[in-house]
Amino acid sequence: MIDMFQNLGLGLSVALTLNNVFFCFIGCLIGTLVGVLPGVGPVATISILLPVTLALDPTGALIMLAGIYYGAQYGGSTTAILVNIPGEATAVVTALDGHEMAKKGQAGLALGLAAIGSFIAGTIATIVIAAIGVPMTRLGLLFGPAEYFSLMVMGLVFAVVLAHGSLVKAVAMILAGVLLSCVGADMETGRERMTFGLHMLSDGIEFVVLAMGIFGFAEIFKNLADPEKRDVVRTSIGRLLPTMRELRENVGAILRGTGIGSILGVLPGNGAILGPFASYAMEKRISKRPQDFGTGVPQAVAGPESANNAGAQTSFIPLLTLGLPPNAVMALMVGAMMIQGIVPGPQVIERNPDLFWGLIASMWIGNLMLVIINLPMIGLWVKLLQVPYRLLFPSIVAFCCIGLFSISNEPAQVMLAGLLGLVGFALWKLRFEAAPLALGFVLGRLLEEKLRQALIISDGSMLTFVTSPLSAFLLAIGAVALLIAVLPTIRRSRDEVFKDA
């Protein structure tokens, strides 16, 4: 414990030098910007800035790059809440209730809760990394393909909880999402599946394209189809910041979200994306009024946003302790370290303690800066909603198209998003929800990948999923959750049968 404070002290002394505070600020600022701009993600931004960082000292460079990453998570929630465009997989959940809150005139409250929740989560996650980062690494290593597959199955079961309408429709959407995730080259044989010979589909559908289509563009179609509703959004602003009472009501959700996000962030293969979904499912499960979820419940924003930010932070653990990048951004950080002549791996903590602890301490400073940058911005963002929609939506579309084009410099991606926008609009008309589809899509990729890896290793024996204790445990939780979800439906239909009789 004393060690930890000594180490954090060392870290703060590094992170608080004028240079590093400056780099941290620049990183957070750029991050917020790329987060707010739909489609422009931290991966593209960091890789473009990579050559620039060569001229900097390694600690400053990494502090800046890290700032871009978690800064983008803050910024991403802004667009999700205001215009229902989740730029990142993790912001999908925020958009669900966050945008509904904005429609009710509570955009300020939603943005405030997101920022404050993220700050609390970031602070706790920083301490988690410093205190138990090394033991937590082992948790990530326990998850081989079989265990990971079972975790995904559990995730899919929880996905059912995300829906607030018909159970059957939710399951249909999840399966549709899983199916869409299968588009593209087969990972084992390289053979193209469901691509219709189109080059742009050969690597599968980009998540950003899907999200921007079925959420962002569909939302615009919805608003244009229904002019009365959208005027309500822009006439009422509401308070800008949450009151103490509102904070107290949400602190539980924030803390639970932080816990879930911190654990899932350590998992390989971008486990952090599961955090917000899991947090949402949990909040809905323990809420006294689960039927309100999806209509603008503050806890449904505070929890997932905290999980999101905590996960973004703890995903640095495998990178810092083993040199293993759990996602594309961390892979870039490895690249940045290598080019600077720092070998990522277990030795970093001994050989470059300044860098290791400086980076960790800078995360906390960065989170503080993000709150300071973001809270005063809320007023500005909310004012944006007062801009007449006929002027606002063309600029949203334009920004989306720029972002979509920048993914692979391919106009076809923009067209695909437009097409998916129509699909999203049709789904809305038919009262299907897009969120379970998005989750099915996100989980589907990992689900297939891990299933096939596990079966190659086990020579095709399905027993591998139950002989591993961890895997069996996760499947059991999934089975119980499924039972709990289905039982009321069964009971209700049975009651109806009895009523009829």
Binding site: G144, E188, S202, L324
Partner: protein, 324 residues
């Protein structure tokens, strides 16, 4: 009349001047607008990182803007097509590696054959791979590894189907005559994770992806795949030294343009690449990333690619990898 004469002589003088400097003029003008360096992978990969650092140095050497453009997709074949169909004016170039350049022609029905549609300018770097084992397979040397492999099928992870890490392992299996089981991953990162976690036996992967874990003893490096030992791992033999004679494999990167580059532009690019590769700072960055700067250019680079293509063709064909 006088006016006419002056005009005509001015014109003649102008023409004379132009013809006198015609050849160097084009090269001197080049680059008169930004040069696009196409990378066939999404931002954030190994090739992308090398390309961006290279582009930054090339700007100085060429004295003009060099922009990296990511054109990912279709197993890196889209990037090849983009450059193959661009104007051969030196303003659209490709950073190619062994995957799309010499392995893919054997696996896919390509729209553009890189050997015919592209003009090799110069190779940038050559990076050896390394054979590493994790806690699941507790062997310390290549000899022990080969003995274990004769006993039963070992499981290896790769960075993906037909990746350098995959084909290099296939070659190892074929050369050493051992049966191996392939588990494809999406990138080296998750595969290394499962190697450390003890879910797979071994990997043949890029040195930067595992060197930290080797240094700390989490993973054991058995051998490097190149023809020479790697300076940072002086005690680790080459695969050929350690009992698999004749084996060598490496991941390499080079710059190519569309077929039919003007000779002067090509000369300018060759010189600029050579200048970049002699910059000690750039070389240091390459070495940090596990790469050795190359001296191959023009025809020598083309010959190298042809021999690589023939070699890997045999490997993937006997392994039966083919996408219809």
């Amino acid at each position: 009349m006088l006016k006419n004469i002056t005009r005509r002589s001015a014109l003649l003088a102008g023409l004379a001047m132009m013809s006198a400097v015609a050849l160097p003029a084009a090269a001197q003008d080049y680059p008169s607008k930004p040069v696009t360096l196409v990378v066939s992978y999404a931002a954030g990969g190994g090739t992308d990182a090398i390309a961006r650092v290279f582009a930054a140095r090339l700007e100085t050497a060429l004295g003009g803007r060099v922009i990296v453009e990511n054109r990912p997709g279709a197993a890196a074949n889209i990037g090849t097509d983009v450059v193959a169909s661009a104007d051969p004016d030196g303003y659209t170039l490709l950073v190619g590696n062994q995957g799309p350049m010499v392995v893919n022609p054997h696996i896919f029905n390509l729209k553009n054959d890189p050997a015919e549609a592209l003009d090799p300018i110069a190779m940038i770097a050559d990076a050896s791979l390394v054979v590493v084992v994790g806690p699941r397979l507790a062997v310390k040397t290549m000899e022990e590894f080969l003995a274990k492999a004769k006993e039963g099928e070992l499981i290896y992870g790769s960075a993906g189907n037909a990746s350098a890490s995959h084909v290099a392992t296939l070659l190892l299996g074929q050369t050493a005559d051992i049966a191996l089981k392939h588990v494809p991953y999406k990138g080296a990162g998750p595969a290394v994770n499962d190697l450390v976690g003890g879910h797979i036996d071994f990997m043949v992967t890029t040195i930067p992806s595992v060197i930290g874990l080797v240094g700390d003893g989490t993973l054991t490096a058995l051998a490097v795949t190149g023809t020479e030992r790697f300076p940072e791992l002086p005690d680790v033999p080459t695969v050929a030294e350690a009992g698999v004679p004749g084996y060598s494999a490496s991941a390499w990167y080079g710059v190519l343009g569309p077929k039919g580059l003007p000779e002067d532009v090509r000369a300018r690019l060759t010189a600029a690449t050579a200048e970049t590769l002699s910059d000690p700072e750039f070389v240091a960055k390459l070495r940090n990333d596990g790469g050795v700067p190359s001296t191959l250019s023009g025809q020598a680079f083309a010959d190298f690619m042809a021999s690589e293509r023939a070699r890997w063709g045999e490997v993937v064909e006997s392994a039966g990898i083919k996408v219809e």
